[in-house]
């Protein structure tokens, strides 16, 4: 028996020492709200390890785990029974596999009640930073929208820390593309003096449709004034997130850049914008020396014209038959101008 216990201890300690590269699911607000019986904004205090928990099954592995408890003083209830003080218990693997426990401070906490006790509703996304300041505007009626509103308030608040705001940005893909998000990010931008952080927020604003930031972003890229990280981020948001035809004039300077990566991002944006207004610029870029710029121009024209037999093409198809596609769209332009 003693030998078995020693073997278990050795196996456990080896497991504890292992490094991790694990996939985790993305944050989905509706799923989290539905899985929680109780959602509160609370002061989280007295987080403590209270002992060993039963091992946690993770994939094919049984992970050694610890049991934790924490005290919550509820300040606002977003879903479920209105309570004052709550004691929460939860188990976490000894090593990090993406699961997160509670953190001290004002937090929005998602709980589920099992066997008369409150536990974390989700192992990955159980709590986010929160603020006790009054809501930015009218509170929505849907709980998931209230949750998102609270997350935006953290971004806008002058009292929350940069790391708390960054914790919200870690799930930026789940934030809504609307005026509230833009307003919250603008407030943060006003208060930010760190260059890297300012670039990050500017890029987020472009991502969420704030065209007023685009000229500054374009200027930083055109004049090569962005940091290395900022440049990568700006190129990402331009090529993937700009979809508004009103952005076309602001993108124009990038189309003449000497850097083909910048031109590619700008033409990819024109493709995604999918507007007849972009046709003259796309036609001009059919003559670009860079094949990827030509490819995105062809994709843009194909989506706008929507001609049967000329949709797409894929990169491989274009690479193999580039002259056919370029000739077709040049001909299409001639016919269009007559």
């Amino acid at each position: 028996m003693k030998r078995i216990l020693i073997l278990i201890a050795i196996a456990g300690s080896l497991w504890c020492s292992q490094a991790r590269a694990v996939g985790i699911p993305g944050f989905k607000v509706n799923e989290l709200v539905n899985s929680a019986d109780l959602i509160v904004i609370a002061d989280v205090t007295a987080i403590r390890k209270v002992g060993i928990a039963p091992p946690i099954q993770f994939g094919n592995n049984l992970l050694p785990a610890s049991e934790y408890s924490a005290d919550l003083s509820v300040r606002r209830t977003l879903k479920g029974q209105v309570l004052g003080e709550i004691s929460v218990s939860y188990a976490l693997p000894e090593t990090f596999v993406g699961y997160s426990g509670l953190r001290d401070g004002v937090r929005m906490v998602f709980l589920r009640r099992d066997n008369g006790q409150y536990h974390l509703a989700d192992p990955y996304y159980s709590n986010f930073p929160a603020t006790l300041e009054p809501p930015l505007g009218e509170m929505p009626s849907e709980v998931s929208e209230v949750v998102l509103s609270n997350m935006l308030e953290v971004l806008a608040s002058p009292t929350t820390s940069t790391s708390e705001k960054r914790e919200i940005l870690r799930v930026d893909y789940a934030l809504p593309s609307n005026e509230k998000t833009v307003a919250a990010l603008r407030k943060w931008l006003t208060a930010s003096s760190d260059r890297g952080l300012t670039e990050k927020i500017r890029g987020e604003l472009v991502r969420f449709g704030d065209l007023s930031q685009l000229p500054d972003v374009v200027n930083l890229l055109s004049k090569d004034l962005a940091t290395q990280n900022g440049r990568v981020w700006f190129l990402y948001v331009i090529r993937e997130c700009v979809k508004d035809p009103r952005a076309i004039p602001a993108l124009n300077p990038l189309l003449g850049s000497t850097d083909e990566v910048v031109r590619e991002a700008a033409v990819e944006a024109l493709w995604h914008i999918n507007s007849p207004t972009a046709v003259p610029l796309l036609l001009k870029k059919l003559e670009d020396p860079d094949e990827m710029v030509q490819f995105y121009a062809v994709r843009g024209l194909a989506d706008i014209a929507n001609e049967y037999g000329w949709g797409g093409p894929s990169e491989a198809e274009f690479h193999e038959h580039a002259s056919k596609y370029l000739a077709h769209w040049e001909e299409w332009a001639k016919e269009r101008s007559q």
Partner: protein, 196 residues
Amino acid sequence: VNLSASTGAQITVTSTGQHFSAQNNDISITATSNGMSPAPFTLTAKTPWKLLAVSNPNNDTNCNPSPQSYFTQLQYNLIDNLNITMTTDITWNEVVAPAVCENGSNWCHFGLVTGPGRTNPVIDNLSPPTLNQNPSPMLTCTGSHLGTIRYRSASQTISVGTATAGSGVVVQTDYLGYYGDHGQHDSKQSPVQPPQ
């Protein structure tokens, strides 16, 4: 594809092609009745191709309480064979080769465990050995990712479409790089072409 005849009877159309689309709407179905053929009904056959990194600054490094240390979260969008971000949630998996110690570290002596995730976005979390195992050199977590010396690496192949390691469509190969204060995917390679 299920169609209905004029009598309401079901007709099943079976594909005989074995290729994914090279153009949008390059698969067509034409229903002919009494010699009349209306405009064809068109389809596009899509397949996952490659990952697109959601930029460096979004590669978020955070600190966990001791004995854990940093974790770095790497985000990607999944791109299909026609260069469009796939918005459907798909399972992904990874195959990781045995790790190599680098620059005098002992980090490769601690095993490396992996696990699948879901796309939209793809999120891979990298975390190093725990502090109570005395990794050498010792780790520091500042929340930044400034370290330039890699102490451990392992080749990684990411595939999508299933949680079974090694199955599905390969969308990226890289090296898991563990540095003193952060992790990252090094030497990333995407398939040159999507599955044909």
